[in-house]
């Protein structure tokens, strides 16, 4: 038998070594698995956060300014005069620009939405519920708005909620994120 010499010689090693090697054989199933589980959970949470971060990334602008929780005044003279669609005295129109990577649902129970492609200026949708993607212009028009009422526009359910209200301090309509 080839290498029998070595096979026989290794049988001569100390008992202590033979026992030690056998005792250190801990089946994987008995090993602590929690570090792996914690790492897996951490990666999963990061993945979900990244996915949600990307998927819910919806940017909304008015007059080129990002809408935040800080109110933006709507009835500025310059934009109103630059667009014939905004000139109705009985209605207020909020000219929004929405930028998103994914398809979003835009919904309001107050007024009418008109969604235009930023690229072609083509009317894509009209009504109280519209779908949009990429970069669109949305005109949110409320006929005979009541200054005592707060109007809401939802993007992707409650992911982004815009509030349109009348500010007595500035005597103007303002929009901000909820």
């Amino acid at each position: 038998m080839k290498n029998e010499v070595f096979a026989r010689a290794i049988t001569e090693i100390d008992d202590e070594l033979v026992i030690s090697a056998h005792k250190n054989m801990v089946p994987r199933s008995k090993r602590k698995k929690w570090p792996l589980a914690v790492a897996a959970c951490f990666l999963l949470i990061c993945g979900i956060a990244l996915y949600l971060g990307n998927s819910s990334r919806i940017e909304v602008f008015v007059y080129g300014n990002t809408i935040s929780d800080q109110p933006v005044t709507i009835d500025l003279p310059a934009p109103l005069s630059s667009d014939q669609r905004l000139l109705s005295s009985d209605a207020i129109t909020v000219p929004l620009e929405i930028k998103t990577k994914h398809k979003v649902d835009i919904k309001t129970e107050d007024g009418i939405l008109e969604v235009y492609s930023r690229e072609t200026d083509q009317l894509l949708c009209e009504g109280q519920t519209c779908k949009a993607s990429d970069f669109v212009t949305v005109f949110w028009t409320i006929e005979a708005p009541n200054p005592k009422q707060i109007y809401k526009l939802h993007i992707n359910s409650d992911t982004v909620v815009l509030l349109l209200s009348y500010s007595g301090d500035t005597n103007s309509w303002i929009v901000n994120k909820q």
Binding site: A7, I10, T11, E12, I13
Partner: protein
């Protein structure tokens, strides 16, 4: 029952010693046999031979560690059986593969019949193993004493198979170098 009590039964020539040995170390001896012989019925016979050999050896022996004593006994008997059964045809099992890995380390100037020289070589391997880190030493013994597969060792120690192979390869290179210094290779 602890090992001392079992050994005491052997010394009293009480046949309960064999039953207690089988209960406590049966699986351990079967695993060693199976790794070398790769056959369940051969392994079972080999383990029974080991119990018989233990019965004949204790007394006069009084092993400090019954586990190591039985492990070595079972291993030696399995080596004999393997040699007898596969004298002409090589069986490519884990044992043969593990032996093949050691072919580079095996001194060519010692014959199987030279028991004293083999015992000396055993002492050198022993010294070499004590000079190694504990995890490397244990992996080496699992592979070359217990003849466990790389996959089994990887599973038990929680290292990847490639890491185990790498640990073994580097240990063999160091062993060869160690044995060379000890004068085991003819120039």
């Amino acid at each position: 029952m602890d090992d001392k009590e079992i050994v005491e039964l052997y010394w009293q020539r009480n046949e309960q010693a064999i039953k207690e040995t089988a209960d406590k170390y049966g699986a351990y001896c079967r695993k060693i046999s199976l790794n070398i012989l790769s056959d369940l019925s051969d392994s079972e016979e080999n383990v029974n031979d080991a119990y018989m050999q233990a019965w004949l050896s204790i007394p006069p022996h009084k092993p400090d560690s019954l586990m190591a004593f039985l492990g070595k006994l079972t291993r030696n008997l399995a080596l004999n059986r393997y040699k007898a059964m596969h004298a002409k045809k090589r069986l490519w099992n884990q044992f043969a593969i593990s032996l093949d890995e050691l072919s580079d380390c095996t001194p060519s100037n010692i014959m199987v019949e030279q028991k004293a020289e083999i015992a000396e070589l055993g002492k050198s391997i022993n010294s070499f193993l004590y000079s190694q880190k504990e995890d490397i030493r244990n992996v080496f013994i699992c592979r070359y004493f217990y003849c466990d597969s790389v996959e089994e060792i990887s599973d038990r120690f929680g290292y990847s198979q490639s890491k185990i192979k790498s640990m073994l390869m580097r240990a063999r290179i160091r062993l060869k170098s160690y044995l060379k210094k000890e004068g085991y290779y003819e120039e």
